[in-house]
Structures are given as C-alpha cells and as structure tokens.
C-alpha cells in the first residue's frame, strides 16, 4: 500500500461550505477569536496591526455553535458570523455537484473516504444518480461464509484481471485506471503525476492520443499508449515499450467527431510531440479511415501484435445503439479489453452539442454489452471497462454491478488536482488553474510530487470505499460484484 500523506490544497483560500465572515467595520483586531479557535481559523500575528484573514476551510462549521470555543460567541464586538460561502453556492453543476467537487478535494487531501449521500451521488436525476445499493441490512452477511474469513483477515481483493484471453496475464490492484488525456490537453506534470500514482497503486494511466513524452519512460510498465484516429505521436517504439495498447475509435464526450485540440493549445512542444505545426488546430478524423469492417479492425490489431507480441489490446469505443455488436466485433478482431466510454464523459474540448446529445449514457451501455457478451458465450474472455461519468467510488461500484469488470477515471483525477470544472480548458492558454494547459507559465502551477500524492490519496479513499461496500455485501473480491444486478436498486423519480 502506498503511503498516504496529507496534501492540502495549493490555494491560500480553499473553497468550502461554511465561511466565517468578519465585519471589518466592527472588528477591533483584539485577537480573541485567534485565542479561542482550536482549529487555526483565526490568527493574530504579533507585530501586525490586524488579524490575519480567516481560514474558513479549517472551520468545523455550524457544529461549533454549542462548543465553548465558538468564536462568534466570544467576539466582543459581534463582528463574526457563519454563513454559507458564496463560492460554495456558485461552484458545481448537475453532474458534478458542489459536494462531489469539494468531497473529491477532501479525499485527495486526506486519503480517507467521505461518507454521506452528498459525497456519493450527483444531482443529474438519472443513471448512477438514481441507482443505489441494495444493502440487505446494516452490515454484510454472507451467503457462503467465506466473507467472514475475509473480514477477519482484512483480505478483500480489489484486484482485477485485464486479460482474460490467452497471452500475458496483466492485473491491476484497484479496479480502475487513469483515462487517456493527451499531452497538449493536459500538462506534462499532470501526466507524470498520474503515472506516478498509477505506479504506486499498481494500476495504469494512459497517454491519450498526443504522443508519448520522454519523461514518461520510467513509468513504461504502468502506461497505456493510445492509437487514435489522428495517429498523433504514434511510433513503433512507443508501442513496443508498453504492456497495454489502446485503440481509440471514439470518445464518449464527442462520439463520431474525433479529437479536438484547438490551435491556441498547440504550443511548440505539443506540436513537436504530435509532428504537427504549432498554432494550428488538430482535429482527429473520425472514424479510422482504414477501418470499415471487423476484418480491417483485426488487421490493425494484428499490426500492433506484430510490433509488440506481449501487449494486450484495449479497444475504446463510445456507446451507440449497436455498441454490443461492436464489442463482439472487437473480440473477433482480437481485443482483450472492450472499453466503453459513455456519452457524459470528460473531455478537454468538445462541441457542447456532442457532449449532450450523441450516443447513450454509460449506465445503459454496460448491461447491454455485458448481456450480449454472455449470450454470445464471450463474457469470460472479454474484459469490460467502463468510463464516461464515473465520478465517485460509488459510481465505479455501480458500473461493476451493472456488468463491467472495472472502470476508467479521468475528470475525478483533475478535480483531485484542483479542477473546478469551469470548462475553459479548450482554448486560449488553456486551464486557468494550470491543470489542463501546456502554457509555460500556467502549467508551473502543478508540482509533480504534490500532484502524485493527491492522486495516491484519492485512489486510497476510493479503494477504502470499495472495500467497505464489498464488506457490506459480504464479498471477498471485487470480481464477485460483476453483473450483480441484485445489489442495486433503482430510485423512484424525485427520490
């Protein structure tokens, strides 16, 4: 198990729910608040005339009201009050609610899972947000007694096999790995942080379609390289050095459109990696122009296998109505993993019309493919990986219970690094917070060690939550949960 270390926000003012407000026209800077608060919300530095700014994120909120050290009660001038912060009210959206964002930050800071529905479920009113676990009673009771042993030994396995066909066995210690985000869409330090966290947890991260930066070389064993329709930065060497090669047909956020990297973000470095010209927009074509059939598809996979016989191959597709057929086609072409990317997935840039309207959400695609592969007798030879809207460990567990073997995460990793989902990563200098940007100034914002630690913590919190849920179901391995529809229930509308 990797070491969990506290990795606080890199911002002086972390966004939080409850804000301690100080009316400066009343405050006389006496410093009483600093003396009473045990959490360090207030500080009165010696040698300064005024009380330091309040650090609201350290405040325990309204639960402090009846405590003897409640600053509001102690202030001689009544200058302090607690209120819901304006930032808290402003941040977030239906899918990523304020609590999911802030909860992810907290988990990335501490590595401890957060309990409570508001940290587990979004407000989109459908899909994962209407599915809940069907716990029979408080704590898990097993069907076969094996889980009691698992309880005692604490040996609940979250490991999954990625290759169920013949060939090299590859497994990951946690049932998730990092999604493809290209160099260009995100900064090098974010890529490296992802890779470092993946190595620490014995899982993978993916290069996306923007080439394989040299600095990633030391993480080769934990990197998936992507062959996408634009073939940006695809080299024989990059295919030969990895254990998994991902064939990307489409992306959930923009199915049928191909990748978008707008000209502003094609810096000299990015252009060099992609063998393109800086400043010109890079739109990947759609679909693969040499793949019009399963036979063509097989030809491409054979070409990868020729270059790297040990590699296992993942095929990443989005979720049209015939996604089940596509999965079977991929099996016959020789794929080991079918990676379904649902339509509400993340992206660095996509037309809004595509994000909302094209193809189906992942919640429908998983059982569809799972059932069809079972029907065709192929379920035991194909690994199903789901992505596109997996925001929490609970979403991951629900996806697995719906029939996936594991999941791929993306947005949540960026949120862990401080993303507020403002959605401005597509143009100009890229992400104003320096995460999804290759701007030389902005991308300095993310320190590799800090970033890696935040992700290691997040993974730890997710794993912790996954283990908890498995315990409650009395299971000893995540593999037992696959396709267990009976573990889920569907909430009534408006519930």
């Amino acid at each position: 198990m990797p070491t969990i270390k506290k990795a606080p926000s890199r911002f002086p003012n972390e966004i939080c729910e409850i804000e301690v407000q100080r009316d400066i026209s009343k405050c006389i800077n006496c410093g009483t608040c600093a003396k009473v608060c045990p959490f360090g919300v207030h500080e009165r530095k010696t040698g300064y005339n005024r009380v330091s700014k309040t650090l609201s994120y350290l405040c325990i909120g309204t639960s402090c009201e009846d405590k003897p050290f409640y600053c509001v009660n102690h202030c001689p001038r009544g200058a302090l009050s607690l209120g819901v912060s304006s930032e808290y009210r402003t941040i977030g959206d239906y899918r990523w609610t304020r609590d999911l964002i802030i909860g992810t930050w907290k988990q990335a800071e501490t590595g401890i899972p957060l309990k409570g529905q508001r940290y587990e479920i979004g407000n989109s009113g459908g899909g994962f947000d209407r599915i809940s676990f069907n716990f029979q009673d408080g704590e898990g009771r097993g069907e076969n007694g094996a889980e009691d042993m698992a309880h005692k030994s604490g040996a609940i396995s979250t490991e999954i096999d990625l290759n169920k066909r013949e060939g090299k066995k590859i497994s990951i210690k946690v049932p998730f790995y990092g999604g493809g985000m290209s160099f260009g869409s995100i900064s090098l330090s974010v890529m490296l942080a992802k890779a470092k966290a993946a190595r620490a947890w014995g899982t993978f991260t993916c290069t996306g379609e923007g080439g394989y930066p040299e600095a990633l070389k030391e993480y080769d064993d934990n990197v998936i390289t992507q062959v996408a329709t634009g073939l940006f930065g695809v080299m024989e060497d990059t295919i030969q050095r990895v254990k998994i090669v991902e064939f990307k047909y489409a992306q959930g956020a923009k199915p049928g459109l191909g990748g978008h990297l707008l000209g502003d973000k094609v810096t000299v470095e990015v252009a060099r990696m992609r063998e393109a010209i800086s400043g010109s927009s890079l739109f990947s074509p759609f679909p693969f122009h040499s793949v019009y059939s399963v036979e063509d598809h097989k030809k491409h996979l054979d070409w990868i296998k020729e270059l790297n016989p040990d590699a296992i191959i993942s095929v990443k597709v989005s979720t049209p109505t015939d996604v089940d057929m596509v999965a079977v086609g991929s099996y016959y072409a020789g794929a080991n993993i079918i990676h379904l990317d649902g339509s509400y997935g993340g992206t660095g840039a996509a037309p809004d019309i595509a994000k909302k309207n094209i193809a189906m959400p992942i919640e429908y695609a998983i059982p569809k493919v799972h059932e069809f592969l079972k029907q065709e007798g192929l379920r035991d030879t194909m690994t199903i990986i789901a992505s596109g809207g997996i925001r929490t460990a609970h979403d991951a567990l629900k996806a697995i219970a719906l029939g996936a073997d594991g999941v791929v995460i993306g947005t949540v990793e960026l949120v862990a690094l401080g993303c507020v989902r403002c959605g401005n990563c597509e143009s100009g200098r890229g992400c104003p917070r320096g995460i999804a940007s290759t701007d030389p100034e902005l991308s300095k914002a993310i320190d590799l060690e800090w970033g890696a630690q935040r992700l290691i913590n997040l993974y730890a919190a997710w794993r912790g939550e996954i283990v908890d849920v498995l315990k409650r179901f009395g299971m000893k391995s995540i593999e037992e949960l696959v396709g267990r529809y009976d573990c889920l229930c569907y909430l009534d509308e408006g519930a």
């Binding site: 003012n13 700014k53 759609f286 597709v317 309207n357 403002c422 104003p432």
Partner: protein, 496 residues
C-alpha cells in the same frame, strides 16, 4: 456534386455589454496588491487607469468562473456568485444558458466548444428525452486529408411524387408539382414581438443571403411598405430590383384570415410560397390561389392541437403540399392527447412537439402519404440540437422565431410586451449588423447539425427525417435495459 453551400461568418460584436454569468465583489479589505490581476487570465481584474495604486472594479462579463482570483487573494476579500441579471434571463424553457449561447453564436459564428464533460441533467422533457445515435466503425463521412466530406443540408419543400409516368412517346404525363429547394432545414417564422422595421430588415437580408425564407405577416405594415421593395414590387436600386424580379424573393407572406382575404395577383406571383392560416374551408382558398398562380406553393399553418393528425391527413388528401405545424413558444402543443401510463391507465395530457411531430409523421406514413406533404415544424426550437431532433421525429424542416431576436441581442425580458423600453433598443438595430448576426447564428447551427449528421454517418439531412431508429429514446432504453437489470429487484421503493 452540387456547389458547396457555405455560410460565411464574420465576428460581429454586440452593441451592449453582455450579461455575464458571474458577479465578482471586491471587499473593503482589499489591499490593492494586484495578485488577482496576475492570476486572472481573462483580464477581469485591472488597476484603475486614473490611479494605478488602486484596483479597478472587476470587468465581470469577462469572468469565466475559474475561481482563481478568489482562491489566491491574500486577504480572501473577493467573492464570486452567479449574477442576478444572468439567472433572471429568459424563463424555465428559454434558460440563461440557451440565450447566452445563442448570443455567443451570433457574435462569433462558431460552434460552442468547451472543456470538461456534460454538466446538465441526465435527461429531461421533450427533446431532452432523446439522444442521437452514431456509427462506430462504418460509414465514414469525413476525410482525413480533405477535411470534412460534403454533407448536404438541402431540403425540398413541396409534394414529391412516388413515381413519374411517361406516355408511349416518352413524354412525362404526370403533373410535376412545384418544389422549392432550401439549402438548410431552417426558415424564419413570424415574430412574437420585436416587430420593428429594422428587425424585419435584418431578418430579410439574412434570409436572402442564406437563400432561405422568411414568413411575414401579409397584413403587417412592414410587408405592405418596405417588404414590397424587398420582394421586388418597387425598385430600390437598379441591380437589386432586377435581381428580385427574377424570382429571388425570400418572403413567405402569411395570411391570417384566408377566407376573408382578397388576393392580390401581383403578390401571389411575386412570392414563391404563401402561407395560409388553417380554417375549416381553407381548401377553397387554396384553389383560388392556385388558379392565380399554378406555380406557387401553398403552406397551411395548423396548430398542434386536437385531431391534428386527421387535419393533416385531410389537407394532404385535399392537395396541400406543405403544412406548417406550430406549437407555442415553449414547444408545448395546444390539444390534450390520450396517454397510457405504465399501469395501462389512460389520461389526457398536452404533449410537446417532439411527440406530436412523431404522431403526425407516423400517421402519414401509415396512410402512405408522407411524401405528399412537407412538414414544417415550429415552436420552441431553441438550439441547433432541436433542429436535428425534430427532423428525426419526422419534420422536414423547422421554422425559428426567438433565436432570431436573440441574435439581435434580445434578452427576452418581455418588457416590450408591457410597453416598457427595450434594454437593447431592438428597433434601432442596424439591419446590416443584424443580418450578419443572424447569418452567424445560422452558420453555427448548421455546422452543429452537420456534426450530428457526420457522427451518424449520414451525408444528407433529408435522410435524417423520421429516422427514429437512429435515435435513442429515454423511455425505450430505460425499459430495454433497466427492466432486465432491476427485474430481480424486490422493491422499487426508494425508502428501503
């Protein structure tokens, strides 16, 4: 291959400072250190020009909500919130997002592209209860070297014969009904408000440039006066007048009381198409118009109300070539339909245009007369995706209203309906400026339609009509997938 239709967009800035999404407040505690100006990459924060020691008021409309300034401020004295002017825009159907993205498109002519995944609700009513399909491997519509392959957005208005008959000499004996080609499945509808001369002027110019049509009230002052020039009755300039006389008119006069109307031969001959309000004996008027000009196409404007399927059927059998079905501004239809719920109980409910369009389309298909009539559908078409979706539901093309006004900066405050002053002075818009804004908006919408078609592997929008099999409907997919998944479920009750 037909000549490539291209909408040339030109960035056209708004006349007024736009309403931004965020408000930023600088607290009294500010020490004018300028940290905010360093961290903000959108130039929201600046020092005062008059006094560089002080920070200026934040330029709020530029704010994109990244929270950087708020989080970096050493005194924690900046606050951000969603702006009240923004959240008050429009109403629950015409949301602030819809209005402001239409503004963006009218200004830039660009497809709205953003980072991060979809942020809205999982699904919703009407158009939000369906997704369009795509093709994963086959049917490429794009070419890696030559850019996007040509995808046609042309639609035909008029009756399409299932077959043409020839006599023994090989001459055509079938009567070929007149048809009109519109290069995109969007025409401009009459306006609910904002009926100013300059607004009409802007829309007419845009319609003419785009080679589409504008429906305009035949009894309105603009059509009687200015419109006469537009349709070539009078010469404004030498060249323009001649061009207009050559049948270049882009106006569709709308006659609201066809049975009482006395038809002006010049008018009928000058316009390629006339729209008549539906009345019981509208067919007699149609014959009158057809006698005046056999080449003119007549559209009957029918409300989406009770028995609309039967009315459309009757009109189609009566020889009507085009039917314009309209709902209210929010896409709500007027009648109540009989609905069966899950437990087979029936009740009456007013449907939205997506469902009603499907009903009418299916009805015509059942009677094998679908190609005898062109369906124009309007009411609540607010975004490019609605154009694609209503066509999937069975419309041939759409007519839009409010988005045209949004292109001219309208804020949908409805003040004008209470005789209050318009905050953006719609009556003073420069028609040239306005026309370009509308062209930009339509250019962006058309490109989005092409994105949808491309993803589906379709090369022309005509193929999209009624392609319900290439769409995913919430109700169907919930049933298909989740019935199986949750069948073992003992209880659906959320309170377990």
């Amino acid at each position: 291959m037909p000549k490539k239709y291209n909408v040339e967009v030109v960035p056209t800035p708004p006349r007024y400072i736009p309403i931004g999404k965020f408000e930023i407040e600088r607290g009294e505690d500010c020490i004018n250190c300028g940290r905010c100006a360093i961290v903000c990459i959108y130039e929201v924060h600046k020092r005062q020009d008059e006094d560089l020691r002080c920070m200026a008021e934040p330029v709020e409309y530029r704010c994109k909500g990244c929270f950087s300034c708020v989080q970096e401020c050493p005194r924690a004295t900046l606050t951000i919130r969603e702006g009240t002017d923004y959240s008050r825009l429009g109403d629950s159907y015409w949301t602030p997002e819809i209005i402001s993205t239409n503004w963006y498109q009218a200004e830039t002519g660009k497809i709205p592209v953003s980072g991060a995944g979809y942020r809205g609700p999982f699904s919703g009513e009407g158009f939000d209860s369906m997704w369009t399909d795509m093709s994963e491997i086959v049917r490429p519509t794009r070419d890696g070297i030559h850019g996007r392959e040509y995808i046609s957005t042309v639609v035909e208005i008029g009756r399409k014969l299932p077959a043409i008959k020839f006599d023994s000499q090989g001459e055509i004996v079938s009567h070929i009904p007149p048809t009109l080609n519109v290069p995109l499945p969007i025409i401009f509808d009459t306006l609910p408000f904002g009926r100013f001369e300059n607004v009409y002027g802007a829309i007419a110019k845009a319609a003419s440039y785009l080679d589409t049509f504008m429906i305009v009230d035949a009894d309105g002052a603009w059509f009687k006066g200015e419109g006469r020039k537009e349709r070539g009755g009078e010469r404004r300039e030498k060249g323009e007048g001649r061009k207009a006389r050559g049948g270049k008119s882009h106006l569709i006069p709308y006659i609201s009381q066809p049975t009482l109307h006395s038809f002006d031969v010049d008018l009928i001959k000058a316009c390629k198409m006339v729209e008549l309000k539906y009345e019981e004996d509208v067919l007699s008027v149609v014959n009158e118009v057809k006698t005046l000009n056999p080449g003119s196409i007549i559209s009957v404007r029918v409300p989406f109300g009770d028995n609309v399927e039967e009315i459309v059927e009757e009109l189609t059998y009566g020889g009507i070539e085009v039917i314009h079905l309209y709902a209210d501004l929010n896409g709500q239809t007027f009648g109540k339909s009989l609905i069966k719920n899950a437990s087979q109980q029936t009740f009456r409910k007013s449907l939205l245009i997506n469902d009603m369009t499907q009903n009418v389309h299916r009805h015509l298909v059942d009677f094998k007369i679908r190609d005898d009539v062109t369906l124009i559908v309007s009411g609540g078409i607010a975004m490019a995706e609605h154009v694609a979706k209503v066509i999937i539901c069975g419309a041939d093309l759409t007519a839009i209203d409010l988005p045209l006004l949004f292109a001219l900066e309208c804020r949908y405050c409805k003040d004008c309906q209470e005789d209050l002053a318009c905050p953006v002075e719609l009556k003073d818009v420069n028609p040239e400026w306005g026309a370009q804004r509308i062209i930009n908006l339509i250019g962006a919408w058309r490109n989005q339609l092409i994105e949808i078609l491309g993803a589906m592997g379709l090369r022309e929008v005509r193929r999209l009509r009624g392609e319900m099999g290439r769409a995913i409907f919430l109700e169907d997919i919930e049933k298909d997938t989740f019935d199986k998944v949750f069948a073992m479920e003992v209880s659906y009750d959320a309170n377990d």
